[in-house]
């Protein structure tokens, strides 16, 4: 493939949205209340819509007969390059919202930079997505505050969720080979530069939510290289089931 770095770069971005969208989609009909159920699935829908734009573009770059659906549904686990954070399970609603919040703050900062990409398709997608993601970030940060500064029990649960997921945050700022190549060409975002503002924003919300900022300096990584946590296989089994069982199925 002529543009292999660009192709891999797009998949790296899109896989985060795909896998997080799949996690949120699991809540369809299972949310803690009607409103939160609808909100989570709305966010899921936004993310899947964004994924389609990225994968359609990636399929065009690949230039062979693969389609957006092939890219989404038919890769093996090692070929998905999403960060570990987004594949973590919906342990409870505090985890679901903490995962969302820790990703949304990053996602918003990332898209804001991607809008400046010299690749016009990527900048147009970013320009479109950022409006949706700013709603996501409002929603998830509201819930961090409501549960953190809520009842005794909700505070304990939200603190556990933040502590449990904190170890996956640093990976957001790791650069892959495709990242480096794309940054050099003015197409990609230098994620290392987003880190300080990210933790400043996250800490600000955690403080407002009367939660403790985790002190652990030990971080997990691997998703960007395709080395995933144990949860990923189960997630993919469900995501890919229909395409594996009924190849080329459309709806």
């Amino acid at each position: 493939m002529k543009n292999e770095n660009l192709y891999n770069y797009i998949l790296g971005i899109a896989d985060n949205s795909l896998i997080l969208g799949q996690r949120l989609g699991e809540l369809t009909g299972h949310g803690p209340s009607l409103e939160t159920d609808i909100a989570c699935t709305n966010i899921s829908l936004d993310l899947f819509g964004q994924v389609r734009s990225y994968f359609q573009y990636a399929a065009k770059i690949a230039g062979d007969d693969r389609t957006e659906d092939d890219i989404a549904m038919l890769r093996k686990e090692r070929d998905y390059k999403n960060v570990l954070l987004v594949e973590q399970p919906n342990t409870n609603f505090a985890y679901t919202m903490a995962r969302q919040f820790l990703f949304d703050v990053y996602h918003l900062a990332f898209l804001s930079e991607l809008q400046k990409s010299t690749d016009l398709t990527l900048s147009a997608i970013a320009n479109k997505c950022i409006k949706e993601v700013s709603y996501h970030e409002r929603f998830s940060s509201d819930w961090i505050k409501r549960l953190g500064d809520g009842t005794e029990e909700s505070k304990v649960k939200m603190q556990e969720a933040i502590d449990g997921l904190w170890t996956y945050t640093d990976e957001l700022f790791h650069q892959t080979e495709a990242d480096k190549a794309m940054v050099a060409e003015g197409i990609g975002v230098d994620v290392t530069k987003l880190k300080d503002a990210y933790y400043a924003r996250v800490n600000e919300i955690l403080e407002e939510a009367t939660l403790e900022i985790p002190e652990s300096k030990w971080f997990q990584k691997g998703g960007k290289e395709g080395i995933h946590t144990e949860h990923m296989g189960y997630l993919l089994a469900e995501l890919q089931y229909m395409q594996r069982a009924y190849p080329n199925m459309e709806w």
Partner: protein, 166 residues
């Protein structure tokens, strides 16, 4: 036309106006502002449409409906989905806003007022049932990605508010 980027052959306007948003049937896609360009070339029409939200499931249906409407009028057509410039609620026409209100969906306010409503709980969205502004946000996400849920504290009617997207 609402914006300068729009480029639609006049003869096609009445045809496209008959195509409606499948999720808000009272609203024509023209009043929604999703048709950005429609140009006839050798009896074939090139149509460019833009999604309201990335994941809007109505876009595929809208594309099919446009093709059908044009076919019935004797034109072949090609539909292209474009992302730039990104759709904004400012492109909904005054007639479109009225259709939304009549249908029971509060039309989007301007960006500042929208923030006051969704973030600070300000009571300024007009109830589509009784007209009172004594209304409150129930959820930032409603029955579709583009709407938020509200309830009127005077007549108790629940209703959707079309979120401002800019």
């Amino acid at each position: 036309m609402t914006t300068e980027e729009q480029n639609i052959d006049e003869i096609l306007i009445p045809i496209l106006e008959k195509v409606s948003d499948p999720e808000i049937p009272v609203l024509s896609i023209m009043d929604m502002g999703v048709v950005r360009s429609a140009v006839i070339k050798n009896n074939s029409v090139n149509v460019k449409i833009t999604p309201t939200y990335s994941g809007c499931p109505a876009m595929d249906v809208i594309g099919d409906d446009i093709k059908l409407a044009l076919k019935q009028a004797g034109y072949e057509s090609k539909i292209e989905l474009i992302l730039h410039p990104a759709w904004t609620t400012d492109w909904i026409t005054p007639r479109g806003r009225k259709a939304l209100e009549d249908y029971g969906i509060a039309a989007p306010l301007d960006a500042e007022a929208d923030k006051d409503v969704l973030l600070n709980g300000k009571r300024i969205v007009k109830c589509t049932n009784c007209g009172s502004t004594n209304t409150r946000l129930v959820s930032q996400f409603g029955s579709t990605a583009c709407k938020a849920q509200f309830q009127c504290d005077d007549c108790q009617e629940p209703f959707d508010y079309f979120k401002c997207l800019k």
